[in-house]
Amino acid sequence: MTGDVQQIGKDLEFVRNAVSRRARPDLGPPLIFYLWAVYVIVGYSLFDLKPEYANSFLGIGGMVGGVLSWVIGRRYSHKTGQWDRALAIRGALHMGGGIMLGVGFIIALSSVSPGFRPYTGQVMVGFVGLTYFLWGVHFHRYFMLLGPVVMAGGAVVGMVPHFGWTALGVVISLGLILPTFFAPRHGRGAGEVA
């Protein structure tokens, strides 16, 4: 009887090790981070260089980026051999929800207080930072650091007389690219023949 229990204990240890190998934090496909880094640096620079195109680029580019992120994520999960639709939907709703909440807030506040309009970009950056921070809480801890940096950037960008948005874009882009060099990723080279 004790022997049986000891064997069960060993088997459960084996299962626990397998589950912990699966649970190792995974940043995801680096390509998604590069995509959003380019989007941020181009979009934010437009505020300084061609402000009339900035909102259109960020709006349309954001939607295209979302679709591309989904496609890249799906390809990555096929490559790594781990498909979790619920997690993908949770991630998409989390990021999309945070951004939509920001857009909704800005539209609502702009309609009741026109004096708020010059600050909409900064408030949106604040929402992006908050979304990053919450992404860090729920998905990858690195974003708990990047989120407050983005929020602080959104707060001070209006005080910078020249190329403040470009500088903020560079900072956020670097923040997005940085973890791709250090964070562990599972399933590297897990190409399958089975």
């Binding site: 009887m1 229990v5 589950v19 781990q82 498909w83 897990a190 190409g191 399958e192 089975a194």
Partner: protein, 111 residues
């Protein structure tokens, strides 16, 4: 009185009968547990996570498939044949019963 005591001693501990013989192999148990927390895993991913050989894992997964505990879907990823395994409702139920039985067994062992 002595007879009663003898009967008491040979009584199986709670949960023992509910242990699923198919899940008494650690790789099969491990595969089912891993599949509970994700929609699907490929053969290679399971192999990496369970640290098993192709032959052994293939044989164990076939037993689970035959019992209707896992479903397998063949697909091509980057022109390579890929087997995606997912947990069936029967597998989910069996795992739940098995884990409950293990819990009961460990509780009764008093070690």
């Amino acid at each position: 009185m002595a007879n009663d005591r003898a009967q008491e001693t040979i009584q199986p501990p709670p949960g023992l009968e509910q242990l699923d013989p198919l899940l008494q192999h650690r790789s099969r148990l491990g595969a089912l547990v891993l599949l509970t927390s994700t929609e699907a895993l490929t053969f290679t991913r399971l192999k990496v996570l369970l640290e098993e050989t192709d032959g052994n894992l293939g044989a164990q997964l076939r037993k689970l498939e035959d019992a209707g505990y896992v479903a397998v879907k063949k697909a091509f990823v980057d022109r390579k044949p890929t087997s995606w395994y997912s947990l069936t409702p029967a597998g989910q139920k069996a795992l739940k019963i098995h884990l409950k039985a293990i819990e009961g067994l460990i509780r009764s062992a008093n070690v």
